[in-house]
Symmetry: D2
Subunit: 261 residues, 4 copies
């Protein structure tokens, strides 16, 4: 399983979240408390918004804890909305094209989870990517194709519906192929203004998703960043958390999907 | 343009060809004599046959001349049939998945050239890859998809025909999209026993292909490895060179294609 | 030979200098106009000042032109004083520890040139590094040891003198070892407020150093960034250029050294 | 703590030891059973002997488990005497110069352990490296300087004594600096014919060292390669294991050192 965190609030140096926390993402990358896999050393990524419309991106295949560039960048880049991700590969190669977050115009996306039987679905899923989006397919991960399908399904105008339709498409392909492994999907998206995070699984073991309101910012992520996990809100499976103007709001995914799942 | 060389003959240490030539591939990677692009620093690759059926592979994104591993491997690996390639990217990212040679079972493939307008054909070309070959699509290069289409078109049983049919498919897609840039394709394949090299272009500027018979081996490549280029045979455009049992034989590509081109 | 540029003036996105110039450093890294070596692909580095006292740093071993991170960082990082460097190794390994610029507290340093016979001087030079600075010796380059010796020789209080004394030390060691190759040294330093650049050689072939005043900024570097080299001031050998408050001033190196040289 | 293994016996493909064991080094690199640190992802290295006098070397900064080159090399390289090492950095940077095994002429060396207070000893230790060996100091690790001191102390003619004298030198420097952390040193050396492994610590917690005799080969390493650790011989602290002609022999380190320690 991968790990990720997203920040929304007053602009801060990235290091204050990435390194200076009891249980920061960099510490997590070395050993996990709430996840099954112990090491996240198969690539790392940052995405951050500033004055530019499209986000800044930094991807690296070295383990996050040994990347001297990351340390300096996190100390010098300030942002009021940023994403960070550490990867534990579920099969695809460790190269920069396979590192999260993925971007499209002003959008960022990253993901923890796995499409059951992805190897046998990849051909079919890639064929659903419309021609005008295909040159954004840089790598071979399930995460990137999910993102491109969400864009094809209207992410820019109606994110919740695009997410729902995309998850349904995938579940339906899995059924056709009689795949019994689950679709697990805990993901986060942003257009540079608001953050939308989803926690979903086709079985009852959705990867965790925690959210916490601080005075001047909100953090959402696959794990709490401090050791008092009771102070964090666990987003229920099948729900979406939306973060905007220093508030977060949790709502269930559209009905349609719940029926399918 | 990329550069490559292939060796067939008495087993030798790879370094004798890669480093110890007046105009070796490593020297070529720094400055070209017969090619338009001056630097080949966008990745490097080796493929070699030994007792195993499938070839050994080594891919690296560092420039070949500064890779200490390459120097040691070339000094310690011996082979009677090997491929080496230095890449100058025509657009896709520098990562190991995009480095030549590509492999499939006992086959190796590498390539110098370019599909005109590839960006606008990639979607369509990837859709021609049959489902059972799709998990061999690791990167995003035109070279890799050409190789997979050749396999789909019967490479293992009739290589010349597979090459011809594949080139025709590509030219036909280019015509449909009204692409005016040429298809340039100088490539080499091996099944571990014989080498098949092709020199082709849809215009009259096929990338160069040189072949030379030595006492106990034959070398074929995008450029001569020594400075006496007159001692090398220039394979004519639209022709195939086949190397087997220490002889090379040049023949024209099947009629069908010549009509199309 | 390496190439480098330094910028002082109104804060700008790094890309405006690194990518958006006729003859930008990234273009230069592929092919040189005024230098003997054609390719600078043995590592890359950035150093920039912002609100923090110590500079930000980014070092990469990939060729600058194929580093997707560099493209995004240069588009999102703004600075009013920054350094960029592309390396063509003179022997030491391509790894991040050997990439310029080097830093110490609030200081940055980078360099084009070479100590003649460095291999036979390295032992002696490293022994001149005082104990309290020794843990700043991360790599094995001549550039890094020159920087540490300048710090040992009082860089923080009197830069010109520290430079002079250090060059004299090196020349004297070279004489002892009867090295006949020259000491060539075109370098730039900053404490975050002013820039000091030096052009020096123990023979009459000091590497080039060009400076140009624009409306709101000054650029200094190993080569002009546009094709009108006559609009750039060539700093004479044996001279120092100082840049401060949007003015540059050229003066000769202290007498002492001129006598030695 | 790092992990390592060395093989002596009938030539085999490296993969049979590196990948095809219950508890192979690659599996170990992901999670440890007998060591305090859980992840070894700060670089990887191989050294192997073949017909050449000096060994082949392969160093990589990617985690061993995600390096596609390693998988292919281990499948195609055969050797009757080879070393493998996975690194968990104790402070110095993750780059190839800092990866084990280190080599000198026909010798290989690798190491698990740590010099207590190395940061404050590095200056002094580097000054002990004689001039003629100094250009073999490529990185900044304690391991490399220990190896160079052993060579200076006569490794090539009397290995046990060179090891003893070197450990004494280090302990004596540590005493002078009043360092209270221990010197822990479990290391292995070879000249291409025999293997010498040492287990030592200045306190009573020497890193583990296990040895096992198989029918046609012997394996020695920081941990057993299978789950039946009772079938492995634990080399006692303060002892040396020598492997030659398919036999291993354990003896105590020379008296001198035992008195010092």
């Amino acid at each position: 399983m991968c790990r990720w965190m997203a920040y929304h609030g007053e602009p801060v140096y990235l290091e204050s979240l990435l390194f200076k926390q009891e249980h920061s993402l960099i510490h997590q990358s070395l050993s996990a408390r709430k996840s099954e896999v112990t090491v996240n050393a198969d690539g790392f990524g940052l995405g951050w918004y500033d004055e530019r419309e499209e986000p800044g991106l930094y991807h690296e295949v070295l383990p996050a804890w040994s990347d001297s560039n990351l340390k300096s960048l996190a100390r010098h880049i300030k942002s009021g909305l940023f994403f960070a991700h550490v990867r534990a590969s579920t099969g695809t190669e460790t190269n920069r094209s396979n590192c999260h977050p993925f971007s499209y115009k002003n959008w960022l996306f990253m993901h923890n989870g796995q499409i059951g039987g992805y190897e046998s679905l990849r051909w079919q899923m890639d064929r659903l990517i419309p021609e005008h989006l295909y040159n954004h397919r840089h790598g071979a991960t399930d995460s990137e194709v999910i993102f491109l399908l969400m864009i094809a399904n209207g992410l820019e105008s109606n994110p919740e519906q695009a997410i729902t339709v995309t998850l349904e498409q995938i579940i339906s392909m899995m059924k056709q192929k009689k795949i019994e492994e689950p679709l697990r999907f805990t993901a986060v998206l942003s257009n540079g203004e608001e953050i939308i995070a989803v926690r979903f699984s086709s079985d009852d073991q959705a990867p965790s998703l925690y959210c916490k309101q601080f005075d001047n910012h909100i953090v959402i992520g696959s794990e709490p960043l401090d050791l008092s996990s009771e102070s964090w809100t666990l987003v229920p499976a099948g729900h979406v958390a939306k973060i905007k103007e220093n508030r977060f709001h949790i709502q269930s995914l559209p009905e349609l999907l719940k029926m399918t799942a």
